[in-house]
């Protein structure tokens, strides 16, 4: 019996739940100096002068550096195709562009001394006009980067057409887009800025030994870190060892390298001693990349009998002060524009702009939740407009099972799906008809506590950035197996899942499989973990490497047993190879590993999937809305998710749980806010409404397994689905509760004040 598909408990959990893992802040690093960055309290200002003299002579201070001291090549642009005039400096040079921008680095013997001294760095700021609102940024009246002469990073489609990334006919809206529609609904939707809030904040530590650098950092992609360090410091990759020890969450915000981290080795080299930087939670809120931050103008048209015909989405993407990956999130939104629906006529535009705010990055879902939130909200608004049940409108327009592979009007090819079944299943599991009856009863009674039922059917793209991932398997002389993987888990449970893959192939016990990751000296190549890519890339690589090891062992056993390899069987129960029909003539893994000599029993695979995969599902949320206070209580979250074949349903469920919590939190609670002068007003976890278990119901989760043909495991990614599906379901539930009061839409987070205002505004209209 295969161990794949079993709810195997996570091997890594006892460590995390008891003695604790090892995080960058915990590493013993003899003689390390501590780095603290001085950050701008102003959103936009010219630096007249920086006086570091008092700080330099403060107790314990080793050095204080400002922008002029850093003799490194400029940081590479945050993303290819980004406006080169908007590149981030290592430390501010002349101008600061968001609250949290770094102006100086203070290095001291202890962290306490560094913090004390950082208060003695006096910066004379001359305030400049700020641009915080991304819609205002488009007008180019105030520039974030004077030299750029514009706040626009790029426009879709215009700029993509001009560089040949989109065909010329894509440049303009197709004529007669909404022709044939009886009804067209329009809505401005804010997909608000959120802070990723990993439990472990950012940290980096560096040690130079001659020309060799060891760099520990809390990252999702250590090999990319190695590459950028080698480039930054002009050394070969073999001279750099990047290590991601245990990493306490990333959510996409720890994919890219930040100047805070990359300056640590510069400081260590300059001082000729190890150095370490660990940020505070307050710093993390200000300067770890933020997510989402789109303003969307949506138009959806169709017939009175519920057929969707045309959809237009115009996005303004807030990229923050130094545009990087955040500017590109709309490309993912565009890819997933029409979701699970067969809408044939579409037009998508985007203007990615710079503002005087913290840069935006990938955050759990990265551009896809924004697509799903928009279309799922619009389907509900459309359903309300034509007076049809939103479940019915969804069902009528879903891509049918016979259409796969299905290419959408924005050119994305979905591998395989079974969308309607997830809708059926969620409606049944939730008891949809009874819920609607209860809703009618409450509406009739007219009390303050109204019921809302929110649906969302989603499809998303995982492993969306094609490329190969590394995996190797080696059977050791003691019969245990060692896996090396290029993925870099930070909570996802790879150690257990990869052990299952190997145990399944080799018949070795899960406990006897060791998984090495996150260290570029131990793993030769790797891409890392993001975009829900790991199992379907790195997992497959490990699985295939295990298969190859079995083949090698079979050949070796055949040699030793003087038999034909085709006659050799692996008895997984007894963990030995024997000649078919003759169990006594056998070789154990230990014997084979020892006999394999210098060559060893090992295999390496770089697996490149032929394409991305598209998990899907339907979520249903029941919310009770207090129409007097605007308070919302989530009563139920029912989720049906299909991520292809599940290797470990327990781990998959855990990913769904975390995703549902984070997705519901965006809909209901979280927003990173700046005031109109660019001061962050939610810069700690008291003001930033980070969700807790007390605000969430017990999740009701169901899985379906429609295997993908894209990889031999049949597996898709499950890391982000929960977030993608739940956000619109929660928002739709809140809006649905208010529908009978004449409220059409409430932006996220659907906080009490927003709900209350929406009700008041609707009263005013009546």
């Amino acid at each position: 019996m295969s161990i794949l598909g079993n709810r195997v408990l996570r091997k890594e959990d006892p460590k995390f739940l008891t003695t604790g893992g090892t995080y960058v802040d915990d590493l013993p690093l003899e003689g390390a100096a501590h780095v603290v960055y001085v950050r701008s309290p102003m959103a936009h200002a010219r630096i007249r002068s920086i006086d570091t003299s008092e700080a330099v002579s403060a107790p314990g201070v080793v050095a204080v550096y400002t922008g002029d001291d850093v003799d490194l090549e400029p940081m590479p642009p945050g993303a290819p195709f980004a406006n080169p005039a908007m590149v981030r400096p290592w430390l501010a040079k002349g101008v600061v562009r968001f609250v949290g921008d770094m102006v100086a680095a203070v290095v001291a013997e202890t962290r306490e001394q560094a913090v004390d001294a950082s208060e003695l760095v006096f910066v004379d700021y001359e305030p400049l006009a700020v641009v915080i609102d991304p819609e205002a940024a488009v007008d180019n009246e105030t520039f974030v980067h004077e030299e750029a002469g514009t706040n626009v990073v790029f426009r879709i489609p215009e700029d993509f057409v001009s560089v040949g990334m989109a065909p010329p006919e894509a440049a303009t809206e197709p004529p007669g887009l909404f022709e044939g529609c009886d009804v067209v609904v329009r809505q401005r939707i804010v997909n608000q800025r959120v802070a990723p809030c990993p439990l472990e904040v950012r940290a980096a530590a560096s040690l130079w030994e001659g020309d060799h650098l060891t760099h520990w950092t809390t990252t999702q992609a250590p090999h990319a870190v190695r590459g950028s360090l080698a480039q930054t410091f002009g050394v070969g990759e073999e001279q750099v060892r990047a290590i991601a020890p245990d990493v306490g969450g990333g959510f996409g915000a720890k994919i890219g390298g930040y100047p805070e981290e990359l300056l640590v080795p510069w400081i260590a080299r300059r001082l000729d001693r190890p150095a370490r930087w660990v940020e505070t939670r307050s710093e993390s809120m200000l300067s770890l990349g933020h997510g989402r931050a789109q303003i969307q103008h949506a138009e959806l048209g169709g017939t009175r009998d519920g057929r969707l015909i045309a959809y237009k989405l115009g996005v303004i993407q807030d990229s923050g002060a130094y545009p990087g990956f955040g500017a590109f999130l709309p490309t993912m939104t565009q890819m997933m524009l029409t979701g699970v629906y067969d809408i044939t006529k579409v037009f998508f535009t985007d203007i990615s702009v710079a503002t005087n705010t913290n840069p935006t990055v990938a955050y759990r879902g990265a551009g896809r939740p924004e697509a799903t939130a928009a279309i799922e909200r619009m389907v509900d608004i459309f359903a309300a407009e034509i007076g049809m049940d939103p479940a019915e409108v969804r069902r009528k327009n879903m891509v049918g099972n016979d259409r796969f592979p299905f290419t959408t009007p924005t050119g994305t090819t979905y591998d395989v799906g079974n969308y309607e079944a997830t809708l059926d299943r969620v409606l049944e599991a939730a008891g949809y008809a009874e819920l609607r009856a209860e809703q009618r009863r409450r509406r009739g009674a007219g009390g303050p506590k109204q019921l809302g039922i929110g649906l969302s059917s989603y499809v998303e793209i995982t492993n969306g950035i094609p490329g190969s991932e590394f995996g190797s398997v080696e059977v050791l002389a003691d019969g245990r197996a060692r896996v090396r993987t290029g993925t870099s888990p930070h909570g996802q449970g790879h150690v257990t899942a990869w052990s299952q893959l190997v145990a399944d192939q080799l018949g070795i016990a899960i406990e006897d499989v060791e998984v090495l990751h996150g260290d570029t000296d131990l793993v030769p190549r790797g891409v890392g973990t993001f975009g829900s890519k790991s199992l379907q890339s790195g997992g497959v690589a490990v699985f295939q490497a295990a298969e190859q090891v079995v083949d090698k062992a079979r050949k070796l056993a055949a040699d030793l047993l003087e038999a034909n390899p085709n006659d050799i069987e692996l008895d997984k129960t007894n963990r030995r190879f024997h000649v078919a029909g003759t169990p006594s003539a056998s070789k154990t893994w230990v014997e084979l590993a020892q006999a394999s000599g210098d060559e060893g029993l090992s295999a390496e695979v770089d697996f490149a999937a032929p394409g991305p995969t598209f998990p899907f599902g339907s979520h249903l949320v029941v919310a009770e809305v207090d129409t007097e206070t605007g308070g919302v209580v989530l009563e139920r979250i029912v989720a049906v998710d299909d991520a292809g074949r599940l290797i470990n349903p327990l781990i998959a469920e855990g990913q769904v749980h975390g995703g549902l919590a984070q997705g519901a939190a965006q809909a209901l609670m979280e927003e990173m806010c700046y005031d109109d002068q660019g001061n962050p007003v939610t810069a700690n976890l008291a003001d930033y409404e980070f969700v807790s278990a007390a605000e969430l119901p017990s999740f009701e989760t169901y899985s379906m397994e429609t295997p993908t043909p894209i990889n031999p495991l049949g597996a898709k990614g499950i890391g982000e689905s929960g977030t993608i599906g739940s956000t619109p379901a929660v928002q739709n539930a809140v809006c649905d509760a208010l529908l009978a009061l004449g409220v059409r839409h409430v932006d996220m987070p659907t906080s009490p004040i927003r709900v209350w205002r929406a009700i008041e505004a609707a009263k005013g209209k009546k």
């Binding site: 962290r111 004390d116 208060e119 206070t629 605000e695």
Partner: protein, 273 residues
């Protein structure tokens, strides 16, 4: 996240604590549960040069039945107040309110004295003590002094205590005729966006509001209307009278006034009025 440096003393008795304050004057701060003071120090919004740690003074942790009233030691933790049988019996409002503060960690560290002395308008216990018409007992170099709750809260984070005084005891009348606390929050662990406390004491109804101004306040108009025979619903409509509520990310002044009315109506109903 690292406080500025400070000296630390841990007096062995209340008297020693009073002397330590007298010695260091307003450079010093008492440290009780630390759950208001330490966050401020970590953000360097408070930088006392001496901390006088009274956290372990067992003599200030008690809930006593004192005949017509209840006497609560200033160092009684929220958790202990919440579960104290004497408090549950004679001042069920106070015990209930203590159980609605923050999260379990906060309730195990935070003290009623710290909460009252800190005088945060967003805190729960100050409004409860106001509604009950309690009395605060402070000890300074000159001995003990009693301060009625109505005169204790003087401004934002400002109390009637002098820098040399230790709040030692909180006295509240026994009140079992009905009570309610409507605390409106987005997250279980949060401070109230607005709260409304109702206490029924000796035929009188006390109503106090949380987070609607620089101090916790009595809803005078509501109390007067009720005393004059108005219905609970009519009286609740007056809850926002005279308020100048703050604006923040969760609420505008207007929304706070609205919530004060809604929550007071609910609290009055819940208290059986």
């Amino acid at each position: 996240m690292i406080p500025a440096s400070f000296d630390y003393v841990r007096p062995g008795s209340l008297d020693e604590a009073v002397s330590a304050l007298a010695e260091h004057g307003d450079e010093a701060k008492l440290l009780a549960g630390g759950h208001s003071l330490l966050p401020l120090m970590k953000l360097r919004l408070a930088t006392p040069s001496v901390l006088v740690d009274i956290g372990r003074l067992g003599e200030l942790s008690y809930v006593n039945d004192a005949g017509d009233h209840l006497a609560i030691g200033a160092l009684t933790r929220h958790h202990d107040l919440h579960h104290d049988p004497v408090a549950m019996h004679h001042a069920p409002l106070l015990s209930f309110v203590a159980g609605r503060i923050g999260d379990p960690q906060v309730r195990h560290r935070g003290t009623i004295g710290g909460s009252i002395a800190h005088a945060d308008p967003a805190s729960d216990l100050p409004a409860a003590v106001l509604a009950l018409g309690g009395t605060l007992v402070a000890r300074g170099p000159g001995g003990d002094r009693e301060i009625p709750a109505d005169r204790f809260f003087q401004g934002f984070l400002e109390s009637a205590l002098t820098p040399e005084e230790v709040l030692t005891e909180i006295r509240v009348p026994k009140a079992t005729a009905g009570h309610a606390y409507q605390k409106f929050v987005r997250r279980a662990q949060d401070w109230a966006i607005v709260g409304s406390v109702v206490a029924r004491v000796d035929g009188r109804v006390g109503v106090a509001l949380v987070n609607v101004g620089p101090t916790p306040v009595r809803a005078d108009a509501v109390e007067t209307a009720l005393a004059g025979g108005a219905s609970a619903a009519e009286a609740a409509e007056l809850a926002a009278e005279g308020l100048e509520p703050p604006a923040d990310n969760n609420a505008t002044p207007e929304f706070r006034r609205h919530l004060a009315r809604v929550l007071t109506a609910r609290a009055l109903a819940e208290a059986g009025l």
